[in-house]
């Protein structure tokens, strides 16, 4: 019984959240008690444009099954244009990853404002569901990093 449970590993999701909107949105989800799966772990960045493709690749390497970026809505960036840059950079990165055969569902961008606690929770629930259905990340993993 324990063996089975151990084998059915829960997926791991890394969420990069910008300090000004999405991290605050996550806080609001928390204070509104809007739950989302515990497999979602948040890393705070000043702006979504701080997220280097290397961070995302590293997460997959280390065993993440999905990576999601959250930023302010286009037009609302605290730094006025950071999320526009993110949108381009990640458009090209995600497309390239998919070109290499990495499932396109494993990467996502969502715009979540500080007022959208409900959206944050809904997005994370949905993303976790998608990743759960997709199963473990096999195409961009580093076996040395797996137990």
């Amino acid at each position: 019984m324990q063996e089975i449970e151990k084998n059915q590993k829960k997926p791991l999701i890394v969420a990069f959240c910008c300090n000004w909107c999405s991290y605050a949105g996550a806080d609001l989800a928390g204070s509104s008690r809007l739950s989302y799966p515990a497999e979602v772990k948040i890393i705070k960045v000043p702006c979504s444009c701080r997220v280097n493709p290397i961070f995302i690749l590293k997460a997959f390497q280390r065993g993440a099954d999905g990576v999601i970026l959250c930023g302010c809505h286009p037009g609302d960036c605290h730094y006025s244009e950071g999320n526009y840059r993110t949108r381009r950079r990640m458009g090209l990165l995600f497309s390239m990853l998919n070109y290499f055969g990495i499932e396109k569902e494993r990467t996502r961008i969502e715009w979540v404002s500080a007022a959208e606690g409900a959206k944050f929770s809904a997005v994370m629930n949905d993303f976790a569901k998608t990743i759960n259905e997709l199963g473990e990340n096999r195409r961009l993993e580093d076996l040395r990093c797996k137990d």
Partner: protein, 325 residues
């Protein structure tokens, strides 16, 4: 080609004699006709200067180091190489004042492996005319059609325009560029994710991490490459794992995204024949389709699409979906 080589040699001599330039960078003949490598020449030593159908190498990359030296240099650039030159200018990696650019005509260069593949053996000597490579072998004369042995990068030639040149030397008409350079990318895009994964897994498993692609790439001019820099968190000298095969090429393609001129040197120099240009070209295609047509190096100081944005840009998801149509 011989006619052009003569003109180039004359030009080099004239500029060196007049003191307009101090050095020349071009191609130098080695042991045999097809053994050609980039080299620098001075006033007293133009020995071995050559321009033949094996001069596919892009000389731009060498200019980063040359730009640091005293004096002015004459550089011969084929149309596709001129884009790299402009891109390096935009990125302040070279100074225009240090170079006298002579654009030279080009009808595509050859891949010696493709010549061998046609059963050419026991080579004694070679010569060429407009359309053919004439090989004298121990078995007799062998004619190889140039069209049949073009480098990958020449098969999908992007341009016959000189993006920059102080003057040009062209003999006859240049053959037009190939408008369908994204065909192979489209083929990959039309595959399923699993098929693409299998394709790249097979291709990239061949990678021996020799760094030839990085060393030949005119956009790879970092002082300390992230893969050599322990502080970067991703440094590695060899592909210890399947992940690292991918990581290296994804990061490299992303590193040059928006800056890659599609010169095709990466694929040309790959000893394992990995179609690396298909990675960069995917990015170029995505840029063109989603953010407007852009050719890196077409203009000096143009804003690279990755440092640009518009408020109406499509969402990332649509870029991914767009390629899978």
């Amino acid at each position: 080609m011989q006619g052009l080589e003569k003109l180039m040699l004359e030009k080099a001599n004239a500029l060196l004699q007049s003191g307009e330039v101090d050095r020349v960078i071009g191609w130098k003949k080695g042991e045999s006709y097809y053994d050609v490598s980039p080299a620098t020449f001075t006033k007293d030593n133009l020995e071995g200067f050559v321009y033949n159908c094996f001069c596919g190498a892009n000389l731009s990359k060498y200019l980063v180091a040359e730009s640091k030296k005293e004096g002015k240099m004459l550089v011969f650039l084929k149309p596709c190489d001129t884009y790299s030159f402009n891109q390096l200018l935009s990125e302040h990696r070279i100074e225009k004042e240090k170079f006298y650019v002579v654009g030279v005509g080009c009808n595509g260069h050859l891949d010696m492996n493709k010549v061998y593949a046609q059963g050419v053996e026991g080579i004694l000597s070679m010569s060429e005319d407009e359309n053919n490579l004439i090989v004298e072998t121990v078995y007799g004369q062998k004619i190889v059609e140039k069209e049949s042995a073009l480098l990958i990068k020449c098969l999908t030639c992007k341009s016959k325009e000189f993006a920059v040149a102080d003057e040009t030397l062209v003999v006859g008409e240049m053959k037009p560029a190939n408008p369908n350079r994204f065909e192979e990318v489209e083929k990959l895009e039309s595959m399923t994710e699993a098929e693409r994964y299998a394709f790249w897994k097979e291709q990239l498993s061949k990678c021996i991490r020799c760094n030839a692609c990085r060393n030949a790439c005119p956009a790879c001019t970092c002082i300390n490459c992230v893969f050599d820099n322990n502080a970067s968190g991703i440094s590695a000298k060899a592909n210890a794992d399947e992940f690292e095969e991918k990581l290296f090429h994804i990061i490299r393609a992303y590193h040059v995204a928006g800056r890659c001129t599609d010169c095709g040197e990466c694929s040309r120099v790959c000893p394992q024949n990995i179609p690396l240009h298909l990675i960069n070209r995917k990015v170029i295609k995505d840029i063109n389709e989603n953010y407007g047509d852009y050719q890196a190096g077409a203009e000096v100081n143009a804003r690279n699409p990755l440092v640009n944005y518009t408020k109406a840009d499509v969402e990332a998801k649509e870029v991914v979906e767009g390629g899978n149509k």
